[in-house]
């Protein structure tokens, strides 16, 4: 079937394209315009509308055991957190023109669970990052100084077993330290019993991921999330990249200095400067928006320390086999000094990091805000007057501790498309997504060019997934199920035998019980393999 999107303003920064033109689709892919006056089987008049590739979200907690614990803890917050159940999650993302979403924090022992949840999210493609860095096996390897090859094989085995797209490290060593009753843990602190620093864990994983040719660099959740003065930790972690790729997640939550009479201020400008100066580092923001939400994190130490801020006053702490996690409901309030600083710090990062392909668009859903707030955030980035209206509502003493009022920058459509399409595809190694050239997967979002940017991005005019129309005028018109994107880097398969012995010895089980097979998912073609660099 040949489909034509006719006469739209096509914005494809991957190919420096911003102009009126057509997009042609055949068999789920974008194709060259056919010769002569070939008629399309289906034609859509999109004149006056904006045409972009489907959006890609690199960090959104949409599935897995910790997310499900949050659902069960907070039945009363079902509506407020948007996309609460799997079906709704897929529909709401699609309505906004997003077609690929990454769940960034899956403990290997819960990978099968996470993939079953992902399988029940309709329309979008999805992927997950496997979490290492608080697991006894890795820490044991490092303790025994087994070297980079052993770490590499273990990382590759983990990716193959869990069907992950990449590796994330969350407060490296901090969860393990918390089990030994350590209550604060920073980059150069030593994990009890193992004698390795948090920094050494991050470096070992960064190197392994890089050497395996996994497209997505190590995804780092730094130490000291949420604490005043933690910009120093983030700056030290940025410096620790040492020229190799490193992705820092939800940097806003590390954007805090100690100025002002409360000892809490925005240090986002300093972080943005460091990011601008460090080419091998990418970040996503983790923007805060005001309203009720729930924080879900595998940083169990941080969640334990935040437990008394729970609104409503109930929380779950889970000491997992490795990272575990915590669920702490929370409400960001516009009249709260700290929340106002957080809101401003996120926007400062967006606006002060020069290159939109190195700052990624996230709320760390649902930690900073539900993903359903994305259209409002896009509107804030594109409209300084809209920002000024909000700034006027914040506590003035909070505003005084940020640079936000002085920033005039407004994102263009091209920059939005770079940040939410082109750059995420490149960061994840998805060469056939995030752009609109022939050969690309026909994941396409069409928006009415509405002066109200939030309304425009909330309800896409048309969305195509794999060339099939799935959304029209903000309504889902067709339910289909996408694939999970995975990598499977080459490695020495002797590691499998070693892991079998390890699991038998420690847990009295076979590691096969947690492995994710094709047949487990219960849907046709559940996985798509993303190539690694050789």
């Amino acid at each position: 079937m040949l489909t034509r999107l006719a006469g739209g303003r096509v914005i494809d920064p991957a190919h420096d394209r911003d102009g009126v033109g057509d997009i042609w689709i055949r068999d789920g892919r974008i194709v060259e315009a056919p010769p002569g006056n070939t008629a399309a089987d289906a034609s859509y008049d999109v004149s006056g509308k904006i045409v972009m590739a489907g959006g890609i979200d690199i960090h959104s907690h949409i599935a897995g055991s910790n997310v499900n614990a949050a659902r069960l803890l907070l039945p009363e917050r079902r509506a407020a957190t948007g996309g609460w159940a799997t079906f709704t999650t897929g529909c709401l993302y699609a309505k906004m023109g997003f077609t690929t979403v990454v769940e960034p924090a899956v403990a290997p022992h819960y990978a099968l669970h996470a993939h079953l949840e992902l399988a029940d999210i309709p329309i979008i493609d999805k992927a997950m990052l496997a979490v290492l860095g608080n697991d006894d096996f890795l820490l044991g390897l490092m303790h025994a100084r087994e070297g980079a090859t052993a770490v590499r094989d273990y990382v590759a085995w983990t990716l193959a077993t869990t069907r992950g797209l990449g590796i994330k490290v969350i407060n490296a060593g901090g969860a393990e330290a918390f089990k030994s009753n350590v209550r604060t843990f920073s980059l150069d602190d030593v994990v009890p019993r193992y004698g390795v620093t948090s920094r050494a864990i991050v470096k070992a994983l960064q190197q392994a991921v890089h050497e395996l040719g996994v497209p997505h660099p190590l995804h780092v959740h730094c130490n000291n999330l949420g604490l005043a003065g933690n910009a120093e930790t983030a700056l030290a972690t940025i410096a620790a990249a040492e020229g190799l790729p490193l992705h820092l997640a939800h940097l806003q939550f590390y954007g805090y200095g100690t100025e002002g009479k409360r000892g809490f201020s925005s240090a986002a400008a300093r972080l943005a400067e460091a990011v601008n100066a460090t080419e091998s580092v990418t970040i996503d923001v983790g923007q805060v928006m005001f309203g009720p939400t729930v924080t879900i994190s595998s940083d169990v130490l941080r969640q334990f320390n935040a437990r008394n801020q729970a609104r409503p006053r109930k929380w779950v702490i889970f000491d997992g086999d490795a990272n575990g996690g915590g669920v702490v409901p929370y409400e960001y309030r516009v009249d709260d000094f700290y929340n106002a600083v957080q809101w401003a710090a996120g926007l400062e990062l967006f606006l002060l990091i020069d290159n939109p392909s190195r700052v990624f668009f996230t709320t760390d859903h649902p930690n900073g805000a539900p993903f359903t707030t994305y259209p409002d955030i896009l509107a804030l980035l594109m409209d300084r007057d809209r920002r000024a209206e909000w700034i006027a509502r914040l506590p003035p003493e909070a505003v005084a501790l940020t640079t936000l009022p002085s920033i005039a920058r407004e994102y263009t459509f091209g920059e939005i498309a770079t940040m939410t399409r082109v750059a995420p595809a490149r960061l994840l190694g998805l060469t056939d997504r995030g752009h609109l050239a022939p050969g690309a997967v026909a994941d396409i979002a069409v928006y009415a060019d509405n002066a109200d940017r939030a309304a425009m991005f909330r309800d896409a005019a048309l969305v195509f997934k794999d060339g099939e129309l799935v959304v029209r005028d903000g309504d889902v018109t067709s339910i289909r199920y996408g694939r999970a994107l995975t990598v499977r880097p080459d490695h020495d398969h002797a590691i499998a035998r070693r892991m079998r012995g390890y699991y038998d010895d420690r847990y009295g089980i076979s590691p096969d019980v947690m492995a994710v097979s094709d047949g487990a998912i219960g849907r046709p073609d559940p996985f798509e393999l993303v190539p690694c660099a050789s």
Binding site: A63, S65, V67, N68, R71, L72, L73, L74, P75, R78, W84, A85, T86, F87, T88, H109, Y110, L112, H113, L116, D120, D136, G140, H143, F178, K179, S180, N181, P192, R193, Y194, F304, R307, A310, K314, W315, V316, I317, F318, D319, G320, D321, G324, V327, D475, V476, T477, I479, D505, R506, Y507, G508, I509, D512, V513, M514, A515, S517, A520, G522
Partner: protein, 379 residues
């Protein structure tokens, strides 16, 4: 021997599924209950419930919701069977029913495992109010190192309250055991470096006692590390809870619905959760549900209600229902006849069990797919 019957007469599987579809489509209030099935069966059953606008309940919902009531009222701190096995230097076993909830508990938790580097082997094991039967068996076999404090399960609430008070340094009144024993245990819990308390909501322990225990665990974490290990009931109740959670945002005892929009698409997935209203036994005995799909694939369990209701039973062979089902289909046992993904007691997570004796017996997921395919369009 066949594997499908209508009103007791052998029929083809196809005919049984067609009759099941007819009954469900004609129902004004369908109910899917039992739900003793693997994850594939649970996901299929929930999707069918969504399509029919049915209520869903699990045969062990009472125990599941007892724990969940505590969790969603006050939160809790919990850990995995693996951490309890490898890391705990103090195990507090609470009440009865632990070894029936987890047959492997003695082998997994009471026998020393290979501890991670730098951790000392050996641990203190205390069993609080195990009941006389367990106390006797602990005394005479290889588990003589297990300290037993208190006897009867009925004493658990006061024992837990007394322990929590003493950990907090508050005075207590009369307890079933001498205060010195309570004080010594409180001291041992506080001295633990990583303690784990284990309980089973399938036992007689009530939600208030579980909440007291979870409060005690939180209090202990002011100064040391302690966590809880609730043992889920069988029949994959914990797995079904997870599937209900991710598909609807609610646990079982919910009513599911997909509201089609004008174009006939499932535009909205809605759900209502009410532990009283959607209790399967109440729905049937109260005359609200008029057609039940009963699922018990792990063992031939029968429903507990007394009223006669049109029933489609998907059960392990040899099920003896109180009343013959209108449609009965014998299904394979997950993990025996076919591979199963289900909640594993040994890991506390969903895992794969390879079929122990693969057979041609049909799975719950397959039967439900056939029933769904036989439903008229528009249902």
């Amino acid at each position: 021997m066949g594997d499908a019957w209508i009103s007791g007469k052998p029929v083809t599987l196809q005919a049984a599924c067609a009759e099941a579809a007819r009954l469900l489509a004609a129902s004004r209030f369908p109910l899917i209950a039992g739900l003793g099935t693997d994850m594939a069966g649970a996901r299929a059953a929930i999707a069918l419930a969504r399509r029919l606008g049915a209520a869903v309940d699990h045969m062990h919902s009472a125990a599941v919701l007892k724990d969940l009531e505590v969790m969603r009222d006050a939160g809790w701190m919990v850990t995995t069977p693996g951490e309890a096995r490898l890391r705990a230097d103090c195990l507090l076993l609470v009440g009865t029913g632990l070894t029936s909830a987890w047959l492997e508990l003695p082998r997994r938790l009471l026998v020393p495992a290979t501890a991670p580097a730098g951790m000392e082997p050996g641990r203190r094991v205390v069993w609080l109010c195990p009941g006389p039967e367990v106390a006797r068996s602990l005394a005479k076999d290889a588990h003589a190192h297990v300290e037993v404090i208190g006897g009867d399960e009925a004493d658990l609430p006061i024992m837990l309250a007394a322990l929590r008070a003493r950990v907090a340094g508050r005075p207590i009144g009369k307890t079933p055991v001498p205060q010195e024993a309570i004080d010594a245990l409180a001291g041992n819990l506080q001295a633990a470096r990583f303690g784990v308390a284990v309980w089973s909501a399938s036992s007689g322990i009530d939600a208030l006692a579980i909440e007291m225990l979870c409060g005690l665990i939180k209090d202990l974490n002011a100064n040391t590390r302690f966590s809880g290990l609730p043992l889920p009931p069988g029949d994959n109740a914990a797995g079904v809870l997870e599937a209900c959670g991710w598909t609807s945002g609610f646990p079982m005892r919910s009513s599911l619905r997909a509201d089609a929009d004008a174009a006939g698409h499932d535009a909205v997935h809605d759900a209502v959760h009410d532990p009283w209203r959607f209790d399967a036994s109440r729905l049937v005995d109260g005359g609200e549900a008029d057609c039940v799909l009963w699922i018990s694939a792990y063992r031939p369990a029968a429903p507990t209600w007394t009223r006669n209701v049109a029933t489609i039973a998907l059960t392990a062979p040899d099920a003896r229902l109180r009343r013959p089902a209108r449609v009965q289909i014998a299904v394979g046992r997950p993990g025996t006849d076919h591979d199963s993904i289900e909640h594993l007691a040994a890991t506390g997570a969903l895992g794969t069990i390879v079929a122990a004796a693969p057979s041609a017996a049909i799975s719950v997921a397959r039967v439900i797919a056939d029933i769904a395919a036989a439903l008229p369009a528009g249902v």
